[in-house]
């Protein structure tokens, strides 16, 4: 029998879950937790805004695939976390957010820094808890980790009133750590039917998403792709699950796909969706997505099957186990006619990069950065034009190499997620492609990067605009620009240096390539400012609500003349 406080019990349980690092910010209502954390072997990373702490934890979770933890106090601490929690929900990232709450007796009194964290997080969590006694933590903490990592992963909030943190409790035995439930296997008859549909198809395509990454199924996927000669497109979050240079890899589908990729999906007669949710940025107008195709949809979340597209065959199962079974069940195939057709589409309608050799071109800076990075580098992005250019042009070769905010599309994701990635994968360089709009949304985390001395380089595509907003106003609002240009242009290198972060400006040097290489090779955090022409757009583009066949721009001939 051991007597401890709720806070000490929480830390013991987190240690037993294998948590090595927690990002967070202390405040009035989580100080007992911080007092216990001081005595714990768990490392704490002090963020500069709770949203930063949430995204640092996300970066750790996205790189490792295991639940990561962030701490925040009650009231504004909790509300500041909300965006990072919602982001984790939409991208199915296992996250455990532990928030302080006012003492039980003060709940409902509008106490200082009281907010209904439980109520606020109902729609943005997989599950949430308001802990009512220290002893409850024995059930709640293992349950939180089990739920976060089971099935389709997601974020969990544990809201702990301050007096529960201080409550003494006698503990006989600590519970076993929470582990993911075994994922549901596919039914044999479903696998047989899916394999028969693949064997019978003349023009099959795989579309792979975050579920393949979450299931650690990249190797198995490759066996299926190679055996049955299956062309494979990815969603934004599926990038890297099949290496970019694999001959069957078609790259990203959807709003900013290469023309040929959307055209291949337009022509397919069988679409096998693996760990995807038919997001509108991927499908365009859903009713006209893959119009001639039968659909096999494999997902671990039953509510995704038929939510957007009614599948011919829906398989609610672990995508990894399903891929293993499918790889064994399909007949070997080479599909010469379909392979030739795809090769022709890709030759005639490739992704057109205007100036991939120019380091001050959007594609050029991404290609040059990729060329300098070692193969184990991790890439994060913010949200906007730079994100889409990077999705198109960065050569992703491994799952969990590419961390981006897909579903929520959160500007401000990139820098703190990069810090989290660097903390979780020490020794591996991390590059954050960002924009001048996005970076300012969590720029304070440069201080965290400096303090932790993480190997994170921000490559800032700076066009002094909210570039994707500007692009929408140009294309869909008659060129009536409003509120998309920043008239005050911050001196980003000076800002970085002010935070204690080294900085380079490719617009102010004679040899930008050499400077980029020098910056990326320097140890510790750094920022590389890259002036980009504000008139550059991301092409091709499917208008919002349009069908994927109706792409604007990005034709090969447009740049040939």
């Amino acid at each position: 029998m051991k007597r401890m406080t709720g806070a000490e019990l929480m830390l013991r349980l987190l240690e037993r879950q294998g948590v090595g690092t927690i990002a967070g910010i202390p405040g009035g209502c989580n100080l007992p937790l911080y007092d216990a954390l001081r005595a714990s072997r768990i490392r704490h990373v002090l963020a500069r805004h709770e949203q930063g702490a949430g995204f640092i934890a996300q970066g750790m979770a996205r790189v490792t695939g295991r639940p990561a933890v962030c701490f925040a106090t009650s009231g504004p601490g909790a509300t500041n976390l909300l965006t990072a929690i919602a982001d984790a929900k939409l991208d199915s990232i296992p996250l455990v957010a532990v928030t302080g709450q006012v003492p039980r007796a003060m709940i409902g009194t509008d106490a200082f820094q009281e907010i209904d964290t439980y109520g606020l997080t109902v729609p943005i969590t997989k599950h949430n808890f308001l802990v009512r006694s220290a002893a409850e933590l024995l059930d709640v903490v293992p349950a939180a980790f089990r739920i976060a990592a089971s099935g389709r992963p997601g974020p969990i909030v544990i809201d702990v009133p301050k007096d529960v943190q201080n409550e003494a409790v006698d503990i006989d035995v600590l519970p076993a750590p929470g582990r993911p439930d075994p994922p549901p296997p596919p039914r044999a008859e479903d696998v047989a039917r899916a394999a028969a549909m693949i064997d019978a198809a003349e023009r099959p395509v795989l579309l792979i998403g975050a579920g393949v990454v979450a299931a650690d199924a990249a190797q198995t996927l490759r066996r299926l792709v190679d055996k049955a000669a299956l062309p494979t497109a990815t969603t934004l979050l599926g990038l890297g699950a099949l290496p970019h240079d694999h001959p069957r890899c078609l790259g990203m589908v959807g709003m900013h796909a290469a023309r040929s990729t959307n055209m291949v999906l337009e022509e397919c007669d069988l679409l096998v969706g693996l760990g995807i949710r038919f997001d509108d940025r991927a499908t365009g107008k859903a009713a006209e997505f893959c119009p001639g195709a039968r659909i096999v949809h494999v997902d671990i979340d039953a509510s995704e099957l038929g939510k957007i597209k009614t599948p011919t065959l829906g398989i609610r199962a672990d995508v990894g186990a399903t891929l293993r079974a499918l790889a064994a069940a399909v007949a070997p195939a080479s599909r010469p006619a379909w392979t030739r057709r795809i090769a022709r589409l890709r030759a005639e309608h490739p992704l057109v990069m205007r100036a991939p050799d120019d380091p001050l071109d959007p594609y050029g800076i991404i290609r040059h950065t990729a060329a300098v990075l070692p193969p184990d580098a991790i890439v994060t992005t913010d949200v906007g034009q730079h994100q889409m250019w990077a999705a198109q042009a960065f050569p992703c070769s491994r799952p969990r190499q590419w961390l981006t905010s897909g579903g929520l599309g959160t500007m401000g994701f990139g820098l703190p997620a990069a810090i989290g990635a660097a903390l979780a994968a020490p020794g591996r360089p991390v590059v954050c492609f960002s924009g001048d709009g996005s970076l300012l949304m969590n720029v304070q985390e440069l201080a965290t990067a400096a303090e932790e001395n993480v190997d994170v380089k921000v490559v800032l595509l700076n066009n002094a605009h909210l570039g994707l907003v500007r692009q929408h106003q140009e294309l869909f609002f008659g060129g009536r620009y409003h509120a998309s240009r920043f008239h005050a242009e911050p001196d980003f290198p000076a800002i970085a240096r002010g935070f204690g972060v080294r900085a380079w400006d490719l617009g102010a040097v004679v040899d930008p390539r050499a400077t980029l290489a020098e910056a990326l090779a320097a140890p510790g955090p750094g920022l590389v400012n890259v002036p980009i022409d504000a008139a550059e757009n991301v092409y091709p583009m499917v208008p919002p609500g349009g069908a994927n066949r109706d792409m604007i721009g990005g034709e090969l001939h447009a740049t040939a003349c």
Partner: protein, 93 residues
Amino acid sequence: MRPHADVVLRLHVRNHPGVMSHVCGLFARRAFNVEGILCLPIEDATRSAILLLVHDDDRLDQMILQLRKLEDVLDVGRAHAARDAFAAVRPYL
């Protein structure tokens, strides 16, 4: 929009203060109107049964799948006979 028949869903849930907000939130944020709610503890009061009177529209199957994802919802089914329960409480409203 064509008029919809009403249908009753019966949920078995863990009985604690937050479960109703999880259930109702699913409907509210999809603008899916709930016509009637009845809720009582069952067994040893560790569980509750909730009857929801809802329109039988195209989204109902998706709603049921979403309800089944809720951690505190143990079971969801249709319960046609339970329509009478709503009629029975009417005199007390």
